[in-house]
């Protein structure tokens, strides 16, 4: 009997400790903006508020000697392959901002698939800025009223502070002799690329192939469709995301060529050794413009607009552009681009606006249900 009682006590104790631990973690990982969120959080346990207040007081006390402005926190909701870039950039920006404005700024990052990240913001993730893989995902947020519909004109270069393009990653020495897009449709070639229906980034791959086929066939759409069909017939594994495809090609050794963003390809070569892979630049590719935007509704609510806008604006400065190039994205600033000319060979690039009529049109025609991409896999074709 006594034994049972102590067991019960122990169990209860474990649960209490567990609950406390969980609450503790909850405080730390609370995404952002808890200060301004106090209203909506008011119905939560009071302990939460006092915890925040205590933290604020101590920070204010420390800050009082040098500055009067409160520390501010931003949440940057981005997509997968920008993790390393923004880790470096956030340090750069917070140093700059503190120096110029005497205000401490901490930036939290959130990474995931571009579409999933966009949905999270639509569902209420309190992002201050979004830096996604394609304009279509930001348009979707804008449609829900979180972002001004004119967002793409807000920053220079279509609000794309860095660009990239689609290249081929092949095995060392290029054993299959792949030089251009038309090599990819040959029988016996295995092409690795993610599913453009689940991966926003993969839509650039598909469009690059389509654009190439159009140019080769005097804008004959039927022939272009034949070409991309043949290409996707050579795809043995359709991963759901870009990093998944890279793993399939690089780690599992499946396929002869990986259609990849240039920055991912350069990173793979750097990380895994140049003795394993070569990068092949096709004759024509597409200018991938991952855009950035301030989430207007959230920054206005929290009063973060000034710093959020500066955060994105600063991406265009020389220091930031160098960082961008070091992380294998193509810089927009001509002076920096010159320094890194060896890393980024010139090639003919189509653009989404000029060659495809913008994202809305491209999405509808190619990737919507029943669109060209679905027809590739329709039974009987």
């Amino acid at each position: 009997m006594k034994k049972k009682k102590s067991l019960l006590l122990h169990t209860m104790l474990i649960f209490v400790v567990f609950a406390l631990a969980l609450t503790g973690c909850g405080w730390d990982s609370e995404p952002t903006n808890t200060n301004s969120n106090a209203n909506s959080a008011a119905n939560q346990p009071a302990a939460n508020d006092t915890g925040n207040a205590a933290a604020d007081n101590s920070e204010n006390a420390a800050a009082n000697e040098t500055e009067s402005t409160d520390p501010v926190e931003l949440l940057n909701v981005s997509y997968d392959p920008t993790r390393e870039l923004y880790e470096a950039y956030n340090k750069l920006f917070s140093v700059y901002w503190e120096k110029e404005h005497n205000q401490k700024v901490t930036i939290k990052q959130s990474h995931g698939g571009s579409g999933a990240q966009s949905r999270a913001v639509i569902e209420g993730l309190k992002a201050d800025v979004v830096t996604l893989a394609l304009g279509y995902d930001i348009d979707a947020i804008a449609k829900k009223g979180y972002i001004n519909p004119e967002w793409q004109q807000k920053f220079d270069n279509n609000s794309a502070p860095y660009t990239s393009t689609i290249v081929f990653l092949v095995r060392k020495g290029n054993p299959k002799g792949i030089k251009d897009w038309n090599d990819l449709v040959k029988p016996g070639i295995e092409v690795i690329t993610p599913n453009p229906k689940t991966s926003g980034g993969a839509r650039w791959n598909y469009l690059a192939a389509w654009g190439y086929a159009l140019k080769q066939n005097n804008d004959d759409e039927a022939k272009a469709q034949e070409f991309v069909s043949a290409l996707y017939k050579n795809v043995p594994v359709l991963d759901s995301g870009a990093r998944g495809s890279t793993t399939t090609f690089v780690e599992k050794g499946i396929g002869d060529v990986l259609l990849a963003w240039e920055n991912e390809a350069l990173l793979s070569v750097k990380e895994l050794g140049p003795d394993k892979f070569d990068i092949v630049y096709p004759s024509i590719s597409i200018l991938a413009e991952p855009p950035v935007a301030v989430v207007d509704k959230n920054v206005d609510k929290d009063g973060n607009r000034k710093v959020a806008e500066a955060y994105l604006d600063y991406l265009y400065t020389e220091e930031a552009q160098k960082l961008v190039a070091q992380n294998f994205y193509r810089p927009q600033l001509a002076s920096v681009a010159e320094q890194f000319a060896d890393q980024f060979p010139e090639l003919t690039m189509l653009t989404i606006d000029d060659d495809f009529g913008g994202w809305a049109a491209a999405q509808k025609k190619h990737f919507a249900d029943g669109g060209v991409f679905d027809q590739i896999y329709a039974p009987g074709s």
Partner: protein, 282 residues
């Protein structure tokens, strides 16, 4: 007052507070299960019947139902047999490392399913260390329905073992001994004495593993290769709809899957109820 009236008929329960706990149960279930599920139906109801039908009955979606349900069914079936075997060994025999094996069973519960999917793919891909052995035999595992079944075997195993194990443990050894004393052979003892007791938990384990398999996404997307019409599972199609911000289309497919699963689970429950009744009447 009512409860006291009822207590005249039945002996008073040891644990008091039925009214309160039932109220809490219903509230809890509503918040966690019923309301979110109702949300799916509400979202879907925004579609016209034509749109709904067009979404849920297109060739590609139907192919994905087939793959999802067939692979889940086979995986649950295999787990039924081998889960019983594992539970049997764990309950009936003593061997060194038994505790370790016993705790290994639960690992699929704890492991993020994506990790399981990546690990399984790495091993069973054509150049993985099991895949490369199977390749010359003409057996392809990764990126085929067989690979999906494998992933579902992995995540479904604990369900069968953990439902069968306690029942097996509680079985009266004396009944078996009596059967042997009365001249029953081993197989017959198993078939007539042990198996009937095990059918209800086996069915429960099967149903749980099956249901889990139908909804499984994380581990499967890595090993299936996601080829439309061939290895594309229904949850992936739901994800592709979401990726296009087509919430209605996504919930429409989810609704169909829910309804099919619900019917199948009802059927399994019915079978279980029948087998229970038979056990009792015997």
């Amino acid at each position: 007052m009512k409860s006291s009236a009822a207590s005249k008929a039945k002996p008073r329960s040891v644990l008091p507070g039925f009214g309160l706990s039932l109220g809490f149960t219903i509230f809890y279930l509503s918040v966690l299960v019923i309301i979110p599920l109702a949300g799916i139906f509400v979202k879907t109801s925004g579609m016209t019947p034509g749109q709904f039908w067009h979404t849920v009955a297109s060739d590609r979606v139907i192919a994905s139902y087939k793959i999802s349900f067939m692979t889940s069914f086979f995986a649950a079936l295999v787990n039924l047999v081998f889960g019983l075997l594992v539970a049997w060994v764990l309950v009936r025999y003593k061997f060194p490392g038994k505790k370790l094996v016993d705790s290994l069973i639960d690992l699929p519960f704890a492991l993020p399913t994506a990790v399981a999917g990546i690990a399984l793919t790495a091993i069973y891909a054509p150049n993985g260390w099991v895949g490369s052995l199977l390749e010359p035999l003409g057996i392809k595992v990764a990126f085929t329905p067989l690979g999906i079944t494998l992933a579902l075997l992995f995540i479904g195993l604990p369900f069968v073992v953990r439902t069968v194990q306690p029942v097996l443990q509680e079985l009266d050894k004396e009944v078996e001994e009596a059967a042997v004393m009365l001249g029953s052979f081993r197989l017959r003892t198993f078939r007539r004495i042990i198996l009937p007791e095990l059918i209800p938990p086996l069915l429960t384990g099967f149903a749980l593993a099956f249901a889990r398999g139908i909804g499984e996404y994380g581990s499967v997307v890595f090993i299936s290769g996601n080829m439309p019409m061939k290895t594309e599972i229904a949850p992936l199609l739901i994800m592709t709809k979401l990726e296009q911000y087509d919430y209605k289309g996504a919930t429409a497919i989810a609704t169909v899957m829910l309804i099919i699963s619900f019917i199948l689970l009802l059927l399994i429950n019915y079978l279980q109820w029948r087998s229970n009744r038979r056990v009792i009447s015997e």
